[in-house]
Amino acid sequence: EDKVVQSPLSLVVHEGDTVTLNCSYEVTNFRSLLWYKQEKKAPTFLFMLTSSGIEKKSGRLSSILDKKELFSILNITATQTGDSAIYLCAVEAPGNTGKLIFGQGTTLQVKP
């Protein structure tokens, strides 16, 4: 059965800290891995990763994929209170359908 597992499930840090969120997957014929940020509403797309070892970066956020070890990490440096959210990892299932398999999410709380 295809599955996506995120860790930790929750995390509390202080502003300025750096955090690393983990996502491991077991999906046959993997197409891509996606990261989303969710703040009490619909998920907002952050990154799409398809190739191993190529870092995607947007401001203080960055992500990388390891297709050999079947995992991805999302790094957030110099965290701010506005980074408090649920971070979701999803893997696109094979086939031309766009179906996504989501992990449980990591709830990040950044304290002032």
């Binding site: 696109e92 766009g98 179906k99 996504l100 999410g105």
Partner: protein, 113 residues
């Protein structure tokens, strides 16, 4: 463009009642999806559609039905509501079958008591 709209925003149902969650998109997208998100969990795919007249089951289809008579609309029907269907329901659409292109609606929060 309104994007993806969902109605209602919030609803309370009694056990055994039925209802339809509405989803409409005005972007002429062929692909549409219904997800549910239980508290503290990620999203799970209920049903999806690759075009008008074509629907298929996702991970958790039991207790739900869908139809896709037009490109714009993709309603989700709950028959005989159960407490286990208490969740937030998100509809999404995309112009190609790629996950990163999915536009999510604002969600419908459903409470079954």
């Amino acid at each position: 463009n309104a994007g993806v709209t969902q109605t209602p925003k919030f609803r309370i149902l009694k056990i055994g009642q039925s209802m339809t969650l509405q989803c409409t998109q005005d972007m002429n997208h062929n692909y549409m999806y219904w997800y549910r998100q239980d508290p503290g969990m990620g999203l799970k795919l209920i049903y999806y559609s690759v075009g008008a007249g074509i629907t298929d089951k996702g991970e958790v289809p039991n207790g739900y039905n869908v139809s896709r008579s037009t490109t714009e609309d993709f309603p989700l029907r709950l028959e005989l509501a159960a407490p286990s269907q208490t969740s937030v329901y998100f509809c999404a659409s995309s112009y190609v079958a790629r996950g990163e292109t999915q536009y999510f609606g604002p969600g419908t929060r459903l409470l079954v008591l």
